[in-house]
Structures are given as C-alpha cells and as structure tokens.
Amino acid sequence: MPDLGSRHLSVVSVTNLVEITELNFGYGSRLVLKGINLTVRKGSLVAIMGLSGCGKTTLLRLIGGQLQAHEGSVMVAGQYLNNMSQSDLYALRRRLGMMFQFGALFTDLSVYDNVAFQMHEHTSLSESVIRDLTLMKLNAVGLRGVQSLMPSELSGGMARRVALARATALDPELILYDEPFAGLDPISLGVIGQLIRRLNDALGATSILVTHDVQESLKIVDYVYFVSEGVIVAQGTPEQIRASTLPFVHQFIWGEADGPMPFHYPAKTMANDLGLREA
C-alpha cells in the first residue's frame, strides 16, 4: 500500500496502474463506498461486479476523476486524483478512454466524426491521417461500413461497438467500461466481450470493467472484485470466484433468487401488514 505522503512512489507503482486505498465516498451523509482497497495491474483486465446500486459505477467515476474521494486516495498512472487541478486532470484523462453505459455517442455527429472527435479536438494531425486512423479504429470493431451513418441509425450492439472504437481512438493506457453489456442480445454481448479483451491486449492497455453480467465477464477478465453495499466482499481470479463458497458470491454467480441478498425488502411481518395480528 502506498504511503499518502510520498509521491515518488509512482516509480514503484508503475506495475499497478490504478491503486485505491482506504477509500470512503458518499452522497450527502449517506456513505456509498466504505474502505475500498483495490489495485489494477498494468495490462490486466479487471471486473468490478455487484448488484445494481451497490456503488460500482460511483467507483468508476472516482477512478475517472469525475468524483472526488472524501477519505483515502485514488491513484491513476502514478498520480493522485485528490485535489488535482482541472488542467492536470484533463492532461491525465487524455491517457484514459471510457465507454459509457449506452455508448453515449454524440447524436449530432456521424459515426466517423464520433470516432475522430478526440483526434480533431486534441491533435493537429492532418485530415488524411485522421481519416486513416479513424477507419482503422472502425475496422477493428468491424464497422468500417457504417462510417457515414448517424448514431440514431445504429442498432444497440453497433452503437456499443462504435463507442468502443471511440474510447480507444487515442490508444489510451487505461480503458474504463461502464456496463458494456447492458441491454445487449447474446450475440452482440459475446462480440463486445471478445472485442474488449482483444483491444486490451492489442493496445497493451489496462481495462476496468464495471458490470453485473457474470457469465460473460468471467470468460474474459483476469481478476474480479465483488462489491456489495459499498464494501468489497470478495476478490480473485475467475477460477477462484467460480469455486467460491461465499454465500453472496454463490448467489450472485448462479443467479439465485434468495440468499444473503434477501428477496424481500426489510419490512414488518406479512401478518402485521395484513392486520392479522396487533403490532
């Protein structure tokens, strides 16, 4: 665990691209994340899993610097995100790629302009170079043919692939995926899963995947963190997770209706609510 005070540790932590130490975060007085410790090794593909609303998207936003930790530290690529200036944060984000839940493609730009967006904004490359790079990125996700379409003309799976091409447009060191599998049919889901793995390895990048899709993610990731009610309850390689005997992990992986995560929201007894017995 890095010492908060000494920043030259960044040389050491090159092997760990992301390090989160004793992180607490809340909206208002409600703590969403409690005492999170998490490391992501360079070049690996890590999944953060949990139920909807368990705080895993919040965790991703903390890594992307869209939210600030209340206590503890978040370190990305050797830099602490706490109290980072906007310009430093923007400089760091140029080395990051992020894919949002439903793609978040710019609806007023064509597929081509979406993928070329960061090149147009951040680089002074000539249009012909940008064109070649953009077509290569689109080709990598198999969608070179739709470059002139608008995002509204794409299917959900195709939009997700375009978003993937856009997230990797500047060959980022770290790619964040927010629910990349949400709302996809099984075929698109498999395609996206394979692409995430392939792009990660081809670019030599590091990826963090936030998802609740267990089966697909376990196929592609190197390491898994399980988050429940703001705490990391389990972690390990896919094999360890599959073999886990922890009741919560078991329930989650096999999709059982009842278990440590109760089916019933806490309430008074049924008999009470129906007025069969005095309170």
């Binding site: 992307g64 869209q66 400089a91 984000r93 439903f102 978040a104 710019f106 967006f117 904004e121 951040h122």
Partner: protein, 266 residues
C-alpha cells in the same frame, strides 16, 4: 390556527422568492462561466456557424411570417384609429416606431425563446441525460467550451439579425396594408416615417435591446439544459422553464431598458 396558516403562506412566499433569486443568480454565474470558456468558440468559429444555423436560420420562417402579420395588423389598427384624427398618413410613423422600438425586439425574442431557446435546452439536456456531456469530460474536453459556448454565441449573434428582419418585414406588412390596400399616400407614408424615426434613438436602441434579449435567452436556455436533471421528465421540465423564464426575462428587461433609453443614458 389562522395565525399558523398565515405564517405558513408567508413562509411559502419567502421560499419562492428565494428560489427565484437563487435561480437568477445561478444563471448569471453560468453566463460568466460561459464567457470565460468562449475562447474555443472564436478560435473555431465553424462551431458557432453551425449553431447560428440551428438557432437563427431555422427560426427565419416563423420570424418573417410573424413580422409580416404583426405589421399588417398594426397598419390596419393604426389606420382605423388615426383616421378619427384625420392623420391617417402618420400610420407609417406608428407602424415603424412601434416595431423598431418595441415589437421588433420583444416579439422576435419571444418567438426566438420558444423556437430556438427550447431547442437548445432540449438538445443540451438530452446530451446530459445520455451521458454525452460526461463522455466529453472524460475525453478531457470541457463541455462548457465545446457545447455550451458555441450555442450561446450562436443565439447572441442570431437574435439582433432576427429582430431587424422582424421589424423590416413588419414595416413592409404595414406598407402593404396602409398604402397598397387602403390607399394612404405613398410619399407621405415614407417621408413622415423618416422624419419621425431617429437612427440612434429608435433603431440603434432597438438593436441594443435585441442584443440584450439574445444574451438573456441564450444564457437561460443553455443554463436550463446544462442543469436539467438527466431524465426525460427533467429535460421536458427544463424546456418549459426555458420558455417561461425567457419570456419573463425579456419583458422585465424590456421595461428596464426602455426606462433607461427614454430617461437615462441617451
């Protein structure tokens, strides 16, 4: 009991007032933020041109048609009233002054708020709801500079042009009704108008008004879009608020500006 409910009502009034003041303050702060992020808009003016198209060119038809009709009605009504005093030749003066000083800037701004302002709010609100603004931020691009500022300047530049077109169209409408239809003398119509309408005091002040309205409407529209809660209801509510607040802002600013222009600096 009575005291209690009275107190509660007074508290509601206070609460509402505070909310309104807070909203105005937040809009002004947002406007300041937009201005500080405007460098990109002028370095890459094609971004603004695009927004002039969506805000200005697409409002052209409604502005031109409304201007023509308003001018025609002014011509009819003015002629009807002025006839009683035997000065129907002054109808040109009446049409021109009411349009250039008041109706041009105000009505054009009201139409602009409901046509272009609501569209700006809805667009930015939807970009927020679909995480496009977050995506932009994660690409190290400030949405204030890339999305908000060009739309703001597009609106600010479009508004005076639209207001002038509205006035010019209205005067043509008044001319059609008074001269062509009713038969007021052509020469008297124009010469009386020219004698009465002063460039600086009437036309220039009208343009200043429309510029101020343009700033107000664009600031409100971008603010409401940017601050909309990222849901379908949030965006539709923000769109409604844009039209309502812009209209109120236009009318209130018009009163202040008119008072100053008649008494104050000029």
């Amino acid at each position: 009991m009575v005291l209690e409910s009275t107190l509660r009502n007074i508290r509601l009034v206070g609460d509402g007032t505070l909310k309104i003041v807070e909203r105005i303050g937040a809009t002004v702060v947002f406007l300041g933020l937009t201005l500080t992020q405007s460098a990109t808009s002028f370095r890459r003016f094609d971004l603004v041109i695009r927004e002039i198209f969506y805000a200005g060119v697409q409002s052209l038809i409604i502005i031109l048609v409304s201007g023509l009709f308003v001018g025609m009605v002014l011509g009819l009504q003015g002629h009807e009233t002025l006839q009683n005093y035997g000065s129907e030749q002054s109808v040109g003066v009446l049409v021109a002054l009411s349009l250039v000083r008041e109706l041009g800037p105000v009505v054009a701004a009201l139409l602009f708020a409901s046509r272009a302002g609501s569209a700006i709010t809805a667009e930015i609100g939807l970009m927020k709801a679909t995480e496009q603004l977050s995506a932009m931020e994660m690409m190290a691009i400030n949405p204030m500079a890339r999305v908000v500022a060009p739309r703001f300047w597009g609106g600010v530049i479009s508004m005076p042009l639209l207001a002038m077109l509205f006035s010019a169209m209205g005067i043509i409408g008044g001319f059609l009704v008074a001269v062509v239809l009713i038969g007021v003398d052509d020469g008297a119509f124009w010469s009386q108008m020219q004698a009465a309408v002063d460039f600086r005091h009437d036309i220039a002040n009208g343009i200043i008004k429309s510029l101020v309205f343009g700033i107000a409407v664009s600031a409100i529209a971008t603010f409401e879009g940017y601050e909309a809660s990222p849901t379908a209801e949030g965006v539709s509510g923000a769109t409604t608020r844009t039209v309502v607040s812009s209209s109120l802002a236009i009318l209130a600013l018009d009163l202040v500006l008119t008072a100053f222009m008649l008494k104050g600096w000029s």
